[in-house]
Symmetry: C2
Subunit: 394 residues, 2 copies
C-alpha cells in the first residue's frame, strides 16, 4: 500500500463523503473490480476510469472537465493493475505506460454499479382532496433563511406547485427571487409579463375571460418548465387560480382507462399560437413518456391545440381522450381553487401542474399579477447547490 | 346556396389561399364530409369544426384563440346538415340548436386529411465532402433584404449551419440580428458570452485548448437549439472552427452498423456540468429519436458526459458506440474546418451540427468571438412569418 495524502480531487465540485473503504482491487479483462468493506463488489469500465482521471493533463484542474475524448485513448487500452492506497484512494496502472491514475474513494463508491440505478427524487402525485392547497412558506423567512428557501424549492420539485406568502410589494422582487434559483427564460411575452387586459390581446390570458386548465407555451419544442406568478394587487371579483396535477390524472387513467391513456400518450397533436408577429408550432402527445414509461411532461392547452390533420377515427380517439382528460382535470377531485392575495408568489411546474383561472370582473377592482418563466434545470441545479453547501458545512 | 360575403375569418392569422372549391358537403354520423372540385373527399370531426368556429362567442376575435374547451360542448353534439355557401364557405348546422358555423374554404382544404400527413421541411444531411463549407450569405445584404435574410434562415434550418460574412464590427449587432429572428436564450454563461480565456474557467471553452466536436449545454432537459458565433477579431494562430452533421453520421451508422446505432439511441448517458455555482444535469441517449424513428436531436459533449452508473456490459456497449461515433465525426469525410474571420456570423443548430475548434496560441494575437443562444422554435417561427408576409404580398 502506498501512503498518499491528501486524496485526489474528483472530476466535479460535488462533495463525496467517504462512507466505505476499499478492501481489495484487481483487474478483470482490462477493467477494474473493487471490493468494499461492506462486501459489495463492483466493476468499473477502463474508459470510465481513464477519462475521469483527475491528473491535470487529462482533467483541466480549474474547469474539472475532461480534456480528452474516448478517441484520444488507445483502442486497446487496458488496466493492468489496481490497488488501494494508504489514504483510501484507488490506484490503477495502464497498459500503455501512462502515469498511474488515482481516484477518490467517495467518488468511486458513488459511481459504482450495485444492481440498481441510483435513486432519484420522484414526484409526489396529488389530488385536490389530499392537497387542497399548495405547500406554503413564509416569504420573508424563505428569503432570509436558505433552509426555508430550499424547502420551498423541494416542495415545488416534489408537488409541482408551491407558494410563498407575505412578500413585500417591490418592483423587481419577482426577478430577484427567480434569479436566486437560476436563469429567467424570456419569451415573446417578454422577460416579465403582466397579466392584465390588453386592447389587442395576443393571448386569451390578456382578456378577463375564464381560462380552463392549461400550460403556457405548449407551442415550443420544450415549453418552460417553471412559471412564477407574483400578485401585486387583487381586489377584483372572481379570477381565482385553478391548479391540477396532470401527472396524477394521467396515472389514474393509466390504471383505470388504458385506452384513454394510450390515446393521450400516443397520438400527437400540433400546438400553434395565433399571432400577427410569431408562428410557434410544436407537436407531441398530450402526455409524454420517457423510455421507461414514466410521465415526464404534459402538453395541453385547448386554445393552442391546432386542428388535427389525421384520419377521422384517429381524430375521434384523440378528441374522446382529451375530453375525458379535461373532464377529470376540472372535477372537484383533482382541481384546487386558490385566491391570489397581494404578496403571494406561486411557483409551479408548467409542464405538470396545469393552471387556469375563473373569469373576473374587469371593472370590479384592481388586478396586477406579474409572471416569469424559467426551466426545471434551474430548479434542480439550485437544489443541488444548496444541498452541496449544506453537506460541505457539516 | 347562401350568398355570403366576405369569407369568415380563420382561427389563426395565416394566409390560406382558396385553391379548391367545395362541390358537395353532407353529414355522416354527425361528422362532415366535403367533396372538392378535384374529386378529393375528406371528413372533418365534429369537434374540430365546433372548436374552430370563428364566431366571436367561440373564438376570441382579437386573439383568435378558442374560448371553449371540448368539455364545453354537449357530449352528444352532432352536425345535422352541411352545405357550401355562395362565397365558397362551408356552413354546418348543429344538433343542439346553436348558430350555424361557417368555415373559410382555404383553411378547410389545408386541414383536410388526404391520406398522408402534411409535408414538413426535412433536414438536408451532409458530409464535409459534399458540403465543404457552410452556406454563406453577404451579411449587409441579408440585413437589408428580407429575401436574403429568409434564405439564410432556411439554409440554417435545412443544413443546420449557415454563415453571414462581411458584417461590420458593432457592439450589440449580434443581439440585434438574433432578435430579428426571435428571443435570445439566457444561460448561466450570460445573455451574450465572449469566447476568451478566463483565469478561473467554468468551461473548457474558456481555455485555449482544442475542443473536440460537441454541443453546448447538453446538461439541460432541452439544450438550446441554436447558437450564433460572431467574430469580432481573430488574428491568433490556430483556433479554426470545426463542424460536422451529427444527423448524417448517425444515419450512416443506422444503415451500416445497426448495433452501434442501437447503442447510441437506446443507452442513456447523464451529462453534468462542473461548477462551483451550478449543477445542471440531464439524461438522454446520444441520438434522440421521435416516435416515428426520425432523429430529432443529439446529446453529445465528451467533457460533460458523467460517469455511467450501469452494469459493465452496458458501459462497454455505450463506450464502444460513443468511440465509433466520435471517430466518424472527426474523420475528414464528415468534419469541415473553417477559419473565423472578423465580420463572420456563424449560426448553427446546436443539437444537430456539432462544433469544435483547434487549439490556439493565446499569445499569438487577438481572438474575440461573441456568442448567443436561441431555440429552434424562434427560427421556425421567423421563417413562417417571413413566408406569410411574402404570401400576403402576392
Amino acid at each position: 500500500m502506498k501512503d498518499l495524502d491528501p486524496l485526489p480531487i474528483t472530476p466535479d465540485f460535488d462533495v463525496w463523503p467517504v462512507t466505505h473503504a476499499i478492501t481489495a482491487a484487481r483487474t478483470v479483462d482490462g477493467d477494474v473490480e473493487v471490493t468494499w468493506d461492506d462486501g459489495a463488489v463492483c466493476r468499473y469500465h477502463r474508459l470510465l476510469l481513464a477519462e475521469n482521471d483527475p491528473a491535470p493533463d487529462i482533467l483541466h484542474p480549474l474547469s474539472r472537465e475532461t480534456l480528452l475524448s474516448p478517441i484520444d485513448f488507445p483502442a486497446d487500452l487496458a488496466a493492468t493493475a489496481a490497488q488501494a492506497c494508504g489514504n483510501g484512494a484507488l490506484e490503477v496502472t495502464w497498459s500503455d505506460g501512462r502515469a498511474p491514475s488515482r481516484f477518490h474513494p467517495g467518488w468511486l463508491r458513488a459511481h459504482g454499479w450495485f444492481g440498481t440505478p441510483p435513486a432519484a427524487p420522484e414526484p409526489v402525485l396529488w389530488t385536490a382532496e389530499d392537497l387542497p392547497e399548495p405547500p406554503a412558506f413564509d416569504g420573508p423567512e424563505a428569503l432570509a433563511d436558505p433552509a426555508v428557501f430550499l424547502a420551498w424549492l423541494k416542495a415545488l420539485r416534489d408537488y409541482g406547485v408551491a407558494r410563498l406568502y407575505g412578500l413585500p410589494q417591490e418592483d423587481g422582487l419577482l426577478e430577484a427571487v427567480v434569479q436566486r434559483i437560476g436563469v429567467i427564460r424570456e419569451t415573446n411575452f417578454d422577460r416579465v409579463f403582466t397579466l392584465a387586459i390588453k386592447d389587442d390581446p395576443d393571448s386569451n390570458a390578456y382578456t378577463p375571460h375564464a381560462l380552463p386548465l392549461h400550460m403556457d407555451l405548449g407551442t415550443r419544442e420544450c415549453p418552460p418548465g417553471l412559471q412564477f406568478l407574483y400578485t401585486r394587487a387583487n381586489t377584483t371579483t372572481g379570477g381565482e387560480g385553478l391548479y391540477a396535477d396532470a401527472y396524477r390524472v394521467a396515472e389514474d387513467l393509466r390504471a383505470s382507462e388504458p385506452a384513454t391513456f394510450a390515446a393521450l400518450t400516443e397520438i400527437p397533436w400540433e400546438f400553434n399560437n395565433r399571432s400577427k408577429t410569431s408562428a410557434y408550432r410544436a407537436t407531441g402527445p398530450v402526455v409524454e413518456l420517457d423510455t421507461a414509461g414514466r410521465i415526464r411532461a404534459v402538453r395541453y392547452t385547448t386554445w393552442l391545440r391546432a386542428p388535427m390533420v389525421a384520419p377521422l377515427d384517429v381524430q375521434d380517439r384523440a378528441y374522446r381522450a382529451v375530453r375525458r382528460f379535461a373532464d377529470l382535470l376540472h372535477s372537484p377531485r383533482y382541481m384546487m381553487q386558490v385566491t391570489y392575495r397581494a404578496g403571494d408568489l406561486f411557483a409551479f411546474d408548467n409542464r405538470r401542474a396545469l393552471h387556469g383561472r375563473n373569469g373576473y370582473d374587469a371593472k370590479g377592482g384592481e388586478r396586477f399579477i406579474e409572471g416569469v418563466y424559467s426551466d426545471r434545470d434551474e430548479l434542480h441545479s439550485a437544489i443541488r447547490i444548496l444541498e452541496r453547501k449544506a453537506l460541505a458545512a457539516r
